[in-house]
């Protein structure tokens, strides 16, 4: 039995950037037929500008090439395993064809700001007129109601508004945001969950539904214990530099070389006995847990005197061999070279017609029915127009040619 877990689920994907595409990436990776709908005028911005932008640092060897919008690392990572079509929803013809696709689909997912589908006359109620049990997942930044519903936000905006940035940073400095727009994938993974839950409900009851996701409300889940702490004790957490205030030593320690670090954590008396020995400071072995907190800076120096002679991975292996919770602080090349990542087969290579052969992160779990995650590279713009409009909707080549002439669809931005 090789059937993929989500075989038979068809998703019309109107999302762009990261939050929505992250949701559909997980689902496409598990076999959902995901049709990404872009248009020649409004394609996913992560494809980059039509003319290319060599400074954007998104192209293979930083070369935009002849077809820049098909060569973006960002787009190609997020949209593998998806079919790509172009359709201008602002034209009557485009809208009509979209409704024919809705009739053949299980789910429509979008991350426009609230109200955009209404303006296109493609509101949930309208889609229900075409397919009674359609599921619509709508994921604007702030949800479909409330005074901020039309607001624009990126991942770092959400990190700020959700409470993450206020507690992220060094004790002596401003709040900071991550360099990976954390809010987006957190919203995306919840959208993927909600979409599958809605399918489960439809399969049981025959009813579709409208799913309203506020990216802000998903992020607050991940600091839920702080909400309870505020409710119980009116306490607000502070920026601690990411260190455990109840144990020492704890934190990241400099290793040998440029920007090379190892994290050490979970320290108890047994761990300290091992660590003090490992770093050649048996004289400190009897320092108690409470004293270790008081003498934190001094002990950090002692630990760093040892770590700074080692590479991060060698330090991790030595610490783990001594029974201490530790891990190298890995950057992208570190992850690409990591022994565990290799054994798990997490990075998979695939060839893309415009971008060449590269490795990409796969699915972060293994499951029955999936041997290899990445079955198909990300689509070039409009790559699957023929397959979707032709095979799925039964349109003739002449019809497609006319649509392309009218600019309703096509492959050149």
């Amino acid at each position: 039995m090789t059937e993929l877990p989500l075989e038979g689920v068809r998703i019309l994907d109107l999302t762009g950037m990261l939050a929505g595409p992250y949701a559909t990436r997980l689902l496409a990776d598990m076999g959902a037929e995901t049709i990404k709908v872009e248009s020649l005028r409004r394609y996913d911005l992560t494809r980059g500008p039509v003319a290319g932008d060599a400074r954007a640092r998104i192209y293979p060897d930083e070369d935009p090439g002849d077809s820049p919008t098909d060569r973006s690392s960002y787009y190609n990572e997020m949209n593998r395993n998806k079919l790509g079509i172009t359709l201008d929803l602002q034209t009557d013809r485009g809208r009509e064809i979209f409704l024919r696709l809705v009739a053949e689909s299980d789910v429509v997912i979008e991350n426009f700001s609230a109200g955009v589908l209404e303006r296109l006359d493609l509101a949930y109620e309208t889609l229900c007129g075409t397919k009674a049990d359609i599921i619509v997942v709508s994921m604007p930044a702030f949800g479909n109601s409330g005074p901020w519903r039309h607001g624009v936000a990126y991942g770092n905006t959400m990190e700020a508004l959700s409470g993450f940035a206020a507690v992220n940073g060094y004790p002596d400095s401003l709040p900071i945001t991550t360099s990976f727009t954390y809010g987006d994938p957190v919203a995306g993974v919840h959208a993927a969950f909600a979409l599958l839950a809605a399918i489960e409900y439809r399969d049981r009851t025959g009813e579709g539904q409208f799913v309203d996701l506020s990216q802000l409300e998903t992020l607050v889940q991940f600091i839920g214990e702080s909400v309870l702490d505020y409710s119980m004790n009116a306490r607000l957490p502070e920026r601690t530099g990411g260190r455990d205030s109840s144990r020492a030593p704890d934190g990241v320690y400099r290793c040998h070389g440029d920007d090379n670090w190892v994290s050490i954590s979970g320290m108890d008396d047994e761990g300290w006995l091992a660590l003090s020995g490992l770093i050649g400071r048996g004289d400190l072995r009897d320092v108690s847990a409470s004293e270790r907190l008081e003498r934190r800076d001094e002990l950090d120096e002692a630990v760093e005197a040892w770590t700074s002679t080692l590479d991060r991975v060698d330090a991790m292996i030595a610490l783990q061999s001594a029974g201490i919770a530790a891990a190298a602080v890995l950057d992208a090349p570190g992850i690409a070279a990591d022994a565990q990542v290799a054994e798990r087969g997490y990075l998979e290579e695939i060839s893309h017609p415009q971008a060449g052969t590269h490795s990409y992160p796969g699915l972060p779990w293994r499951m029955s029915g999936i041997d290899r995650t990445i079955r198909m590279p990300a689509p070039t713009l409009g790559e699957h127009n023929g397959r979707v409009f032709g095979e799925l909707l039964g349109m003739s080549e002449e019809e497609l040619a006319t649509l392309a002439e009218e600019g309703v669809t096509g492959t050149k931005p």
Partner: protein, 405 residues
């Protein structure tokens, strides 16, 4: 206790599902919280001294109490709790009696532990050939690190989260709280529902082997592909630079984010309004990079005289992404979250009435709902062991005195 949804008696989306939850602390419990809050019947099997989250704060008035941990309460809404010592012969037998009645087993023990105590996958599948088993572990069931000791810090480190968070000139930083565990749990909920669909299609048992470290790494887009495409090492960005950064304002801090293509720069420059910001040298991404320090002082001059709410409002009116750095108090007072009735109050005999996060997603046809407050330790032993499994009340007393439950 509904949340943005009518209390019309409709069932949650997942009301068909029964989940036997052997997991503890944060990762597994967050996955099963999502399942439970959307209607699944989740029975939490705790060791006799309880889920470790019960011993982790925050506690009301900072007084430790295994029935009142804020972390536990947040993660265990809508679940029932039984206690069971899986290492006893009787405990194992009880578990194997329960398994045929459930669709899904979720566990986050160290790899190999369940095998050692005779509860390997094959044994559970023999008890229930249609069982979905989700293993949620730091590194997965295989590989050289599978038995490594870990904390949220070390998992955030090995996954790349730490490298990409912090000031480029200083040490990298862990994100707040338990982010790798939450990420593992949220991803597990997706994997579980997909596995269930395949179970229904094939009639066969399904296994999920999830790596928390890989889930944490998966959210870091696009540094892995930037490296693969062009050998670029993405660096942490601290407060950001130029038109994508955090700025101090009159009463706090706010992010300003202007995407490098499209309409946004023009709208932003018009909103800020000064002649200096409208200078053509800032109109291209290249120009903004070249003159970044001038640009930053122009933006700062605009933010510093305005309050966080004024900036937020200007961003909203002009369709520019601006976000103040909210505290939890700001969240609770947020006009947006209030308007959506996001937070919810839950009464609990040990913790009192407290404010909890509401629904992460609104399934308007099959609502999120708090049907049950978080359980006391072993609160449902009688309901499950006597009521459902048909053990006699005397047997329960006996098992209790012999330390099985």
């Amino acid at each position: 206790m509904t949340n943005g949804a009518p209390s019309d008696g409709r069932q949650g989306a997942l009301a068909r599902l029964r989940v036997l939850d052997l997991s503890g602390f944060v990762s597994g419990p967050y996955a099963t919280k999502l399942l439970a809050d959307y209607g699944a019947d989740v029975v939490k099997v705790e060791p006799l001294d309880g889920d470790p989250a019960r011993r982790t704060g925050p506690f009301p008035e900072d007084i430790p109490n295994i029935e009142a941990s804020g972390l536990f309460l947040h993660l265990n809404t809508n679940k029932r709790s039984v206690t069971l010592d899986l290492e006893t012969e009787e405990g194992r037998a009880l578990l194997l009696d329960l398994i045929p009645r459930f669709d899904i087993v979720v566990e986050n023990f160290s790899p190999g532990y369940l095998d050692e105590i005779g509860l390997d996958d094959a044994t559970m599948v023999t008890a229930n050939p249609r069982l979905v088993i989700a293993h949620i572990t730091p590194f997965g069931q295989t590989g050289p690190y599978r038995r490594y000791r870990e904390t949220d810090l070390t998992l955030q480190a090995i996954s790349g989260m730490v490298h990409h968070n912090g000031d480029p000139d200083r040490e990298p930083l862990k994100l707040f709280g338990y982010q790798s565990y939450y990420l593992g749990g949220a991803h597990a909920s997706v994997a579980i529902l997909a596995a269930l669909r395949r179970r229904d299609a094939t009639g066969e048992s399904q296994q999920v082997d999830l790596s928390i470290a890989s889930c944490a790494g998966n959210v870091i887009v696009p540094p892995m592909t930037s490296w693969a495409y062009a050998g670029i090492i993405t660096m942490r960005r601290g407060h950001g630079r130029g038109q994508w950064a955090i700025y101090p304002c009159a009463d706090g801090f706010a992010t300003v984010s202007v995407y490098h293509t499209g309409r946004e720069w023009g709208d932003f420059a018009r909103m800020v309004g000064s002649d200096a910001i409208k200078d053509p040298k800032f109109e291209t991404a290249a120009g903004r990079t070249e003159h970044v320090e001038e640009l930053e002082s122009e933006i700062l001059a605009w933010t510093i005289g305005r309050t966080k709410h004024e900036l937020q409002e200007l961003g909203r009116e002009n369709r520019i992404a601006i976000g103040y750095t909210a505290t939890v108090q700001d969240l609770i007072e947020s006009p947006q979250l209030r308007s959506r009735d996001f937070f919810t109050q839950v009464e609990h005999p040990a913790a009192g009435t407290q404010t909890y996060p509401g629904a992460p997603v609104r399934l308007t046809g099959s609502p999120w709902r708090i049907r049950r407050r978080p359980p006391l330790l072993g609160e449902h032993n009688e309901e499950i062991y006597v009521g459902e499994l048909g053990r006699r009340p005397e047997q329960l007393i006996e098992m209790s005195s012999s330390g099985v439950v």
